[in-house]
Symmetry: C2
Subunit: 416 residues, 2 copies
């Protein structure tokens, strides 16, 4: 039985996370269900960015001694509690693309392959249908490094693919299309037992649900900060290397800020101890300022409450639509609660894109991914139960009134 | 005969670039001679960054369809005229570190080396004493890719090093320590004649002097935008690939935004045509906004005037000091006009660091590079002749009064 507006407003009154909504700047008249693609703006980010611009103006080069230089480590330490990581295990740097490349290079060098020898483990495994950049960079790594790239079909178990020739596996904890949550602890054990390493991509789990890298026995992970973590468009990504796995090799993008003594200007690269060796070139303090404002806010968030609200919002959305999707040929591919992240996936291959456009015209922002996937993300810090209830009503009306039919031939933009 | 204050003020009145000074925000009481490390802030950058923050707030994900997505190519085209490049030949992306790695990988793949074969050209050459990150990333590239890294001693000709085993050379047009300007046309011809490729690092020449990549026959170059180009701290770097050298290989950091159809979410990497294949992961539109404001201002600059003023300021500084350096054991390593960029280098091994600190205490910001180098950069857009004259007077007084002696045991900061 779908809830009434009064009932969902009562849920908002009882929501312990409701006060966070006022900490975000959201445009009037918009219900934003695309925080899984680009998070909304924490109001504090504006002051942080203004402050950075004033610091550039007034301190000029000396800004580098005033918090800019060590921002990758400082923000990493702020992020660590959200990931179940310890201080010194997380570095904010570069993009997921770069970070996967660095970790793959680091892992295979750590496995002790030397030039001229046959590689004992010449295979890099990734999952079909994973977010493209993860597969693309694995392909570039393999092509350049002389490895073989193999693909596990989407959703299949690793069992038959994980043989003694596999050096490393790249997997997402939450799948960007289906929203499926992998059993990170079990798969990590399985991969380690086979003698390989696994790099977990947390793009759709960091800030979406409690992540516990330590408890899951994870050694290597990457993620971005512009989705659920609300760090701003193109905000810097992060990587995680467990303490006892640090210091055993070079990473291939050996830039000067990853040097043990960057300002000694030595002739030879000497990797910094600890997580800092995964730094590369000079980062943008401006981009870090916006992210730091968001991570400061995240220190106040109870991740158990976050998970409960995320799942409640998903159920509310699905319950509000359960009686109308089938008649419009829409299938709901959202996994059951224990196996999902914080998004809902609805598939309609012919009209999916147009339906999303019709929703956007009504101020309900979701996104569309080929082929046929309408994706709705639920960011519990700034979405109310009423927002989600209204979004479902809009979708019901779009379907009932065929609003999308006029939009079906519209040209598809680069990003929706 | 050193000039009087009245004489330098007359030079300021006759300076055609003088109006640009009012377009920069410079702190009161500071004479900034470190634009070769971090450029001053164009006032327009503040509005540009504010605008980007408002766009994130209001447009959310749709910002990517409103100028964010194609910023790497758009800003590359804005930069092209400053480099003697054509539209479509310059991409703003990543850092110099990443861009050298990408270009090295692209070049060696383009040379047709296939797996399992012996490499015909297994050597990467770089210059000793070059900016560290250029050497460090060449080392990382060689270590990971199975190449041999060889070093030409600083300032030596390439002749005896450039044999048939060299795949690529990494060189700076202007040396970061000495300020020496290389003959880019002659060296490029020499390297090409040997069958190798050369990647030019323009970090200390872009925005410091007229660069003409086309006339010099250059095929590959990189550079940063946070020095003379005033793009802001850690602003994105750029790379140049000549039109006829595009499209012949993959680059190893094959991220999704370098894909021919990034939003088709295809399984396999298919490099974009043209310069876009050198894109990697998701860039920060915030960092691009500040740089775009600066590049807009640069469209108005006459590079011939820029060069003349740069050299006039350098001569003014050196003439004002010529009678006092020797007695304090300071040697002036600045090359003669035709062989230099836009900086002055003074060396005092024992007290150099303390002298720079004493100048900073007086509001004259230069920088210090081990061992013993006091570096003063001359950015003609925001420095007046009077600034430079006054800076020289301050240095004379610091030396005459021994002000630096009290500072000689001061701990050396990370960045000065």
């Amino acid at each position: 039985m779908p809830l009434t507006l009064d009932e969902v407003r009562e849920q908002d009154r009882q929501d312990p996370l409701a006060p966070f909504r006022s900490r975000f700047a959201l445009p009037q008249g918009t219900i934003y269900l695309d925080g899984n693609s680009l998070g909304a703006q924490p109001s504090a980010a504006v002051g942080a960015v203004d402050g950075l611009m004033a610091q550039w103006r007034d301190s000029l080069i000396q800004g580098w001694n005033q918090g800019w230089f060590d921002a990758p480590e400082r923000l990493g330490d702020r992020l660590a509690p959200l990931l179940g990581a310890a201080p010194g295990e997380v570095l904010v740097t570069d993009t997921i693309t770069h970070n996967i490349f660095k970790l793959l290079g680091y892992i295979v060098e750590g496995q002790g392959i030397t030039e001229g020898q046959e590689r004992a483990r010449p295979v890099i495994l990734s999952e079909g249908g994973n977010f493209p950049t993860d597969g693309y960079i694995a392909q570039g790594f393999c092509r350049f490094g002389g490895f073989e790239h193999r693909v596990v079909p989407e959703g299949e178990a690793l069992d038959t693919y994980l043989d003694a020739r596999v050096a490393a596996v790249v997997l997402s904890q939450v799948h960007y299309r289906t929203g499926r949550l992998r059993d990170m602890a079990a798969i990590t054990r399985q991969v380690h037992a086979s003698g390989a390493e696994v790099i977990w991509d947390l793009a759709h789990s960091a800030g979406a649900l409690p992540v516990d890298l330590t408890a899951c026995g994870v050694r290597y992970a990457v993620g971005c900060s512009y989705k659920y973590l609300n760090g701003g468009p193109g905000a810097p990504a992060f990587l995680y290397v467990r303490h006892d796995c640090q210091g055993q090799a070079w990473q291939p993008l050996s830039g000067w800020l990853g040097h043990a003594a960057p300002f000694a200007f030595e002739a030879d690269y000497d990797p910094a101890p600890g997580i800092s060796r995964f730094r590369t070139g000079t980062h943008s303090p401006l981009a870090f300022a916006a992210l730091e404002a968001s991570l400061t806010l995240w220190q106040e968030v109870d991740l158990g409450q976050l998970r409960r609200k995320s799942q409640r919002l998903i159920e509310l959305f699905r319950e509000s639509l359960s009686d109308c999707l089938g008649e419009h040929g829409i299938s709901d591919i959202t996994p059951e609660e224990a196996q999902r992240g914080s998004q809902v996936g609805l598939v309609e291959r012919e009209h999916g894109y147009a339906i999303v456009q019709a929703l956007i015209a009504r101020g309900v922002i979701g996104d569309y991914r080929e082929p046929g996937l309408m994706r709705f993300g639920f960011a519990p810090l700034y979405l109310s139960h009423e927002d989600v209830w209204r979004a479902a009503q809009h979708l019901r009306e779009v379907l009932a009134e065929g609003e999308y039919l006029a939009l079906r031939f519209q040209q598809r933009g680069a990003v929706t």
